[in-house]
Amino acid sequence: MRKNIRLFALALSLAALSACSQRRPSDREIARQRDMNLAEVKRSELGQVGGRYAGNLLGASDYEQPVVLNLEVRDVPEGQSGAGVDPVLVPKLIGYLRFLYGSEEVGEYSDAPVGSAEYFAAPGRLNLVVVHSQFQDLVLNVSVQGADLVGVWSAASVGASGTLRLSREGGR
């Protein structure tokens, strides 16, 4: 009986020692973990709209301008200055809007990069700003309808606007 009590006391001592040796996470580590979790959620959301879409810009001088929208989810290092947190990889939508003029195979297109992209998963809204020297900003405000992006476009600097409908290649 005495022997059992000794063993129990020894086990208790070891457990206490082990608990003391486990370091409590720092605030910095907690913040980093939180950012990484948020990034994972964001990555998952953006993954819903990433892909290659094809369709037309309607209303460009009464002509259907064939375009291809290519969106990829890329992790971009983003630090919070002054927060004392290491930069975390933040998922962002990047890509380009390709204006097709003839054969894509022989390079008869011009690409305009996506300057900024915001995706709101709950309402399924995607706002893109495509930049090019000819029209400065081309704003696309679209809603995600299954495998389609449907909405409006406008280029305020050249006074042009219209509608667009793009379909994801390969469907959903």
């Binding site: 003029y101 054969s103 195979e105 290649e169």
Partner: protein, 273 residues
């Protein structure tokens, strides 16, 4: 299971597939040679519409995701088989991404084109540096664009002209019948370009046309503006100069000058070949 319940899902699926835009569906290349009709709209008191054939060659290259276009234009005088033409090079042809408007202009070129590329065709307006806006143009790869009704083809300068001379100077007694033969040749010029050179003969008939009684002199110097159609010819002998307008349909109305006498008469010739 009736017809609708059995086949409607398949039909709906097929319709949805057809309605789905496909990337790269517009596969016809824009580069290549377009057969072009250049319209000369009536100007001033001249009511006649003229047209002229041309070939427009578009070249494309993609540099880092940006389409670069260059072009060359061959303006033909006469029909498609004519070897009387002027060639212009446009090394950089900007295109508006949204409107598809193309601008063919280059320093040193007498003609420029502003057009829109749609559905495999380029249509727009063309301009000359000497006359301003000349008219509209249309270019297509697959076929020759439609020619306006009543429009007359711009003839070649090369040809045989025949007509009459009216002496207006008391000391001038030039023969009243004359013929003119003109031939154009392509001659390499500075900068790798090609010039159209004009040569020919002027023949004064003392008797009827076709008789052997004539005096002939080569054309020593010929200058022709292809845009305002102003033609100046100086003979190698007898010191005669003809200055006037050669109309697109081949009428040459000009003043006649003689060295030492000045303006001595007028001529009216028409193309007979």
């Amino acid at each position: 299971m009736n017809f609708f319940t059995r086949y409607l899902p398949s039909l709906a699926l097929g319709a949805a597939f057809l309605a789905t835009p496909v990337a790269g569906a517009q596969t016809e290349s824009i580069q290549g040679t377009y057969r072009t009709v250049l319209n000369h709209e009536p100007r001033g008191a001249e009511p006649t519409k003229y047209h002229q054939f041309a070939t427009l060659t578009i070249r494309t290259v993609n540099i880092g995701g940006t389409l670069k276009i260059s072009a060359s234009v061959r303006m033909i005088f006469g029909d498609w088989s004519s070897n009387e033409f002027l060639t212009y090079e446009y090394p950089d042809v900007p295109m508006n991404l949204l409107t598809r408007q193309l601008s063919l202009r280059a320093d040193g070129n007498d003609v420029s084109f502003i057009g829109t590329l749609r559905n495999g065709a380029i249509t727009g307006e063309w301009f000359s540096s000497s006359a301003g806006r000349v008219g509209r143009f249309a270019a297509q790869k697959s076929q020759v664009p439609a020619i306006e009704r009543g429009s007359v083809l711009v003839k070649t300068v090369t040809g045989h002209y025949r007509g009459t001379l009216v002496n207006t100077h008391p000391e001038s007694n030039l023969p009243e019948r004359l013929s003119l033969s003109l031939v154009t040749t392509q001659t390499p010029a500075e900068g790798g370009t090609v010039e159209l050179r004009i040569s020919g003969n002027l023949r004064f008939y003392l008797g009827d046309f076709g008789s052997g009684e004539f005096v002939e002199t080569p054309i020593a110097e010929a200058k022709f503006n292809f845009y305002n159609r102003y033609l100046t010819l100086k003979t190698a002998q007898h010191g005669i100069t003809l200055k006037g307008v050669l109309s697109p349909d081949g009428d040459f109305v000009a003043d006649v000058f003689a060295d030492g006498l000045g303006r001595v008469g007028t001529i009216e010739l028409e193309s007979v070949q």
